[in-house]
């Protein structure tokens, strides 16, 4: 049994927003795989909760009229992995969320919860960061869209204003078209684990597949919040697909990331792994995009 002061079950999105207004101290409960665990640990004991789990209107993946890929915030990890649209346009996201915890966690966990807890180790966050996702939030003042780079304010804090609920995550067409990516989750065991470091790379190659038209690389647990390695991206922009460029790109990421030293992993290990993962994820992305190194 959980130490919850009160549970308010929202029947609709508007109802949820109204509940959040009526109970300003209440927190949002989606799948609960983070929140309920923290209630049990005592960090959130005695909290009021607004449960939005029953809101099917916030589930599902679709292409909207602006040809964005629209992912409902309550879509569970397993449903994202198996969704045809995701598999077609941004399969790396399906692969990334398929590494969260175990199958049961992926059945209950939602991508909204994974991005609203503001945790840098969130498996979906580094990939969404690398694909310039846009967060759609709905609140008393209506709908607001926040690019993911502005979404994470600081560790565990996101740009979610009072009585606002994240309702969808959008991947603009310009961001996914002609794009191929690969995610590597570095963890101490192959399941039921949180990322020690997560690295998501995607590439858009030139017509002749000889040069990099655009490369994006996002990291989890390389900083207090998920980050992009912009310096490395700018360096490799337009360059040829050669081993040297790939190597230099990989080492340049260190200019943008600042992993910390902790009992979970030392700083030197995190920096080293970040570089190795950058190279491997880039190489995998290149082959997915049909490119050949030194070709």
């Amino acid at each position: 049994m959980y130490d919850i002061k009160a549970l308010y079950e929202a029947e609709s999105l508007d109802h949820a927003v109204r509940l959040l207004q009526e109970h300003p101290s209440a927190q949002i409960l989606a799948g609960g795989s983070d929140v309920l665990v923290q209630v049990r640990e005592g960090r959130r004991a005695g909290v009021e909760l607004v449960s939005i789990y029953m809101l099917d209107e916030l589930r599902g993946v679709s292409i909207d009229e602006e040809e964005n890929i629209r992912i409902g915030s309550l879509t569970s990890f397993s449903h994202i992995t198996n969704d045809p649209i995701i598999q077609k346009y941004i399969n790396v996201l399906g692969e990334a969320v398929d590494m969260v915890g175990g199958p049961q966690i992926r059945a209950i966990g939602t991508i909204g919860g994974n991005t609203c807890n503001g945790v840098t180790s969130a498996d979906s966050a580094s990939t969404l960061m690398a694909w310039d996702a846009v967060m759609e939030v709905t609140g008393p003042e209506g709908v607001r869209r926040v690019p993911i780079k502005d979404w994470y304010i600081k560790a565990k804090v996101v740009d979610l204003r009072p009585a606002e609920i994240q309702t969808a995550i959008l991947i603009p067409k310009e961001s996914y078209e002609g794009c191929f990516g690969h995610y590597i989750k570095y963890s101490m065991r192959n399941a039921l684990d949180i990322a020690t470091t997560g690295c998501s790379v995607n590439v858009r190659l030139s017509e002749d597949k000889k040069t990099f038209d655009r490369v994006r690389i996002g990291y989890g647990v390389a900083a207090p919040v998920p980050v992009r390695a912009y310096t490395a991206e700018e360096f490799i922009q337009g360059k040829e697909i050669t081993d040297e460029n790939i190597k230099e790109f990989a080492e340049t990421v260190l200019k943008d990331i600042n992993p910390r030293d902790s009992w979970r992993a030392g700083r030197a290990l995190r920096r080293h792994i970040s570089v190795v993962m950058a190279e491997r994820a880039l190489r995998e992305s290149i082959s997915l995009a049909g490119g050949v190194v030194n070709g």
């Binding site: 049994m1 004991a45 101490m188 399941a191 992993a265 290990l269 920096r271 080293h272």
Partner: protein
């Protein structure tokens, strides 16, 4: 007499019930009306509790009672180890624990308890209480060698320098031996880490009053010992307690200590026999129960040119944590094994068991031998490399030879078990080809293969009492129920025992029913299961008791068939005349007649105790094949093959299950498991199943288990211990395989990315230009 029931892969007797989900574990039996107990734990690693203000906690709705260490009027210090009691005071375990103490010696020590209507109120009360404890904090020490130094904080007055015990062994003269010319000296420090049992069912017990006694239902491996320890802990007659052990969700040695049964019983008594349940949450299982001893070894060997040992020395520092629990037994077992595994004329061995302000270390599958095997086999590999010999050949040359006799334990190696196991394992995994194939590789991804072995015996003779009692009761249809002190904790003891009775008594297996859950009021005395004693020790009392019963049955048969007893036998549930093989009557007809006859009616039952005064070597080996991704600092175990000689295998399916379980625990021990503490506060850092990296389904390759069956002459059914041995050789085998792959032989566990990164960087396998 048909022998085929022994050695048959019979389905576990409780498998169906477990597959249907109707098996009852402790929590499933406890009435919903039980009050919930939550223990208040010390948040300092060393200190004195000055005051606990319970007023706030008592106001929380749903909280029924709050106890603190100050409610313990009479301090009864008690031992917690699941050792059989000894009437000789020198042999008794150190009694240094209290149900609740005002002198916490590790972060997590028990200083109070809350009794509430539900776990929410209990948790609320604990959070409030934790803020209302006034400590006098004292400096603490976490490392064993640091704890021995002068000026280190002293945990127990009567143990200067925190040394619980220090023992030595000396054979021949190392001093003289090393003067021999042409010797090669090989030296190494080997360091194993603290890990935890992680049985999926946490420890749980509940207690209630019944008449003037208290019943404790507990998930334990040692019900009879638990009853004795509860009596000692509460300063009451042992008969005032009754311990019942339902089905257990795994023990691995953690439940071979008496954990919270005394506190639970004490609370029930304070509340007039009220039904109270103490259910330990996973986070407390990690630090407030028992863990495996962290041990540091320093081993030196002097090798002759032909690769034989001239002299060897060993030192081991064993970190025992805050209380004695099993005391020096773990260290002693390692020290005792050192001169036996690789015999040598000149040996100096020394080991210290040391108190530190850390979670209490106790029995864990292997009881000190996984640590010792890691050190011994890493060192053996280092010696082989120093002498440029093939590691396997080096071992064959130096391991304990056939016919070896150990005076103290009277153990004897009756068969060439090491070589048989090596041959079989090498053949299965294709060792010889791969060793050549993987020699001196280069590149980022490299493979390696290696073998390791270990020393192990069965049960604890002659160090402690080994006794087993059995009662077999025959029903009117000739079927029997049997009761044993040896407890079923998942290893299959009941099934194996049933097979033995079926064999000796000569009745079909489906007529043999275990009374699986021990109840100290009814079950004949037995000390439970540990030290891989199960199959070996229960075999003695079963055979003896079954033969007693058989004698009574045949005497009854004589009465009804007029045939002399020596011409009668029981085969397949029938009374047979041995002279012509004729079936005279069925066992059912006999049992019915003998019970209801008006001339000499008798209830056919037999009960007896057998004190085991023998031991048995149980050896084997592990071959491990790994793939090392050097840049990613990760090791992937491709294949693992364990071959064990546990004497006659009674049930191959259950036996291979024991090996799989041991391999799995060994893999985690080798690659990812480690308990961590914050050096500044002494607070545990990863006491939960997410941050403590126990192997998951995806961290294992296929596990291959095989046997070499050398009938053990000293054993009732030719069996030898198998529960713990499979854990021992896995970690060294993996370490040595990584060594072959990368040329780096690492002397520390676990071989996790952290360790590999540091070692690879030091060795230049990784040289990041960007390193800071």
């Amino acid at each position: 007499m048909s022998k085929e029931i022994l050695g048959q892969a019979v389905t576990r007797l409780d498998a169906r019930d477990k597959a249907m989900g109707r098996i009852k574990y402790t929590d499933d039996l406890c009435d919903k009306g039980a009050l919930v107990i939550r223990v208040l734990h010390s948040t300092v690693a060393n200190g004195i509790v000055k005051k606990i203000d319970t007023s706030e906690a008592e106001k929380i709705p749903g909280v029924v009672r709050v106890f603190t260490c100050f409610d313990i009027k009479e301090k009864h210090y008690f031992p917690t180890a699941g050792h059989p009691w000894s009437t000789d005071p020198h042999h008794q375990d150190i009694a240094d624990r209290l149900v609740m103490t005002d002198r916490p010696l590790f972060y997590g020590d028990d200083i109070g308890a809350v009794v509430a209507e539900d776990e929410v109120a209990a948790a609320q009360a604990i959070r409030v209480l934790e803020k209302s404890v006034e400590y006098e904090e004292l400096p603490f020490v976490l490392d064993a060698q640091e704890a021995m130094k002068e000026g280190a904080p002293l945990l127990h007055e009567d143990f200067p320098n925190n040394v619980l015990t220090h023992t030595e062994i000396h054979m021949g003269s190392v001093e003289e031996a090393i003067k021999e010319p042409g010797l090669t000296k090989v030296e190494g420090w080997y360091h194993t880490q603290p890990v935890q049992h992680c049985h999926i069912e946490n420890f749980i017990c509940y207690a209630y009053g019944e008449g003037d006694r208290t019943v404790v239902v507990s998930s334990t491996q040692i019900p009879h010992i638990a009853r004795r320890v509860i009596g000692q802990a509460l300063g009451m007659d042992w008969g005032k307690f009754r311990v019942i052990k339902p089905y257990v969700g795994g023990g691995f040695g953690n439940k071979q200590d008496v954990l919270y049964e005394p506190l639970c019983a004490w609370i029930s008594i304070q509340m007039g026999g009220r039904l109270v349940k103490l259910d330990v949450p996973r986070e407390e299982t990690f630090i407030c129960n028992r863990i495996r001893h962290e041990i540091k070894y320093h081993i030196t060997s002097w090798m002759r040119p032909d690769g034989s040992f001239a002299a060897r020395t060993m030192k081991a520092w064993v970190n025992n944590g805050a209380y004695s629990s099993h005391g020096h037994a773990i260290a002693a077992k390692g020290l005792n094994a050192f001169p036996q595994l690789y015999p040598c004329d000149n040996i100096d061995g020394e080991t210290w068991t040391v108190y530190t302000n850390r979670s209490v270390a106790g029995a864990m599958r292997g009881y000190g031998m996984p640590q010792a095997s890691y050190a011994f086999e890493c060192h053996a590999e280092d010696c082989a490399r120093a002498m440029k010999m093939d590691p396997l050949e080096f071992r064959r040359k130096n391991l304990m030879p056939v016919g070896y006799y150990h005076a103290f334990s009277k153990n004897e190696l009756y068969s060439d078990t090491f070589n048989q196991c090596f041959d079989k394992g090498a053949e299965i995994i294709g060792y010889y080809d791969k060793v050549k194939e993987y020699a001196n590789q280069t590149g980022d991804i490299r493979r390696g293969i290696a073998v390791s072995t270990y020393w192990y015996n069965t049960a604890v003779y002659p160090i402690a009492l080994e006794t087993s009692s059995c009662r077999i009761v025959m029903n009117q249809d000739g079927s029997v129920q049997f009761q044993l002190g040896e407890t079923e904790i998942g290893q299959g003891a009941d099934t194996v025992a049933a097979q033995m009775i079926s064999d000796t008594l000569g009745i079909p297996l489906d007529m043999v029913h275990p009374v699986s859950c021990q109840d100290t009021d009814v079950t004949p005395f037995g000390t439970g299961v540990y030290a891989s004693r199960g199959t070996y020790t229960l075999g003695f009392s079963i055979k003896q008791t079954a033969l007693l019963l058989k004698q009574k049955v045949l005497e009854a048969a004589n009465q009804f068939t007029r045939m002399p007893v020596y011409n009668l036998d029981i085969v397949d549930g029938n009374i047979i005349r041995t002279t012509d093989g004729r079936k005279l009557m069925t066992i059912g007809e006999l049992a019915l007649e003998k019970l209801y006859t008006t001339e000499g009616s008798q209830h056919l039952t037999a009960e007896s105790t057998y004190q085991i005064r023998s031991n048995a070597y149980s050896f084997g080996c592990c071959f491990a094949e790994v793939e090392v991704d050097i840049p990613m600092c990760r090791v992937r175990l491709l294949n693992i093959v364990n071959v064990h000689d546990c004497g006659q295998v009674i049930n191959p399916m259950l036996a291979s299950g024991q090996i799989h379980g041991g391999q799995s625990m060994g893999i985690g021990y080798a690659l990812s498991e480690k308990l961590l503490w914050d050096a500044k506060t002494g607070k545990p850092l990863n006491n939960n199943l997410l941050d403590y990296k126990m192997s998951s389904f995806m961290d294992h390759p296929r596990l291959v288990a095989d046997f070499v069956e050398n009938y053990e002459p000293t054993s009732a059914y030719g069996t030898k211990g198998l529960g713990e041995p499979p854990v021992c050789p896995v970690a060294p085998a993996i370490r040595n395989a990584i060594g072959q792959a990368t040329g780096l032989y690492i002397n520390e566990l676990p071989l996790s990315p952290h360790t590999l990164f540091r070692e690879f960087t030091d060795a230049g396998l990784i040289n990041d230009s960007f390193a800071e």
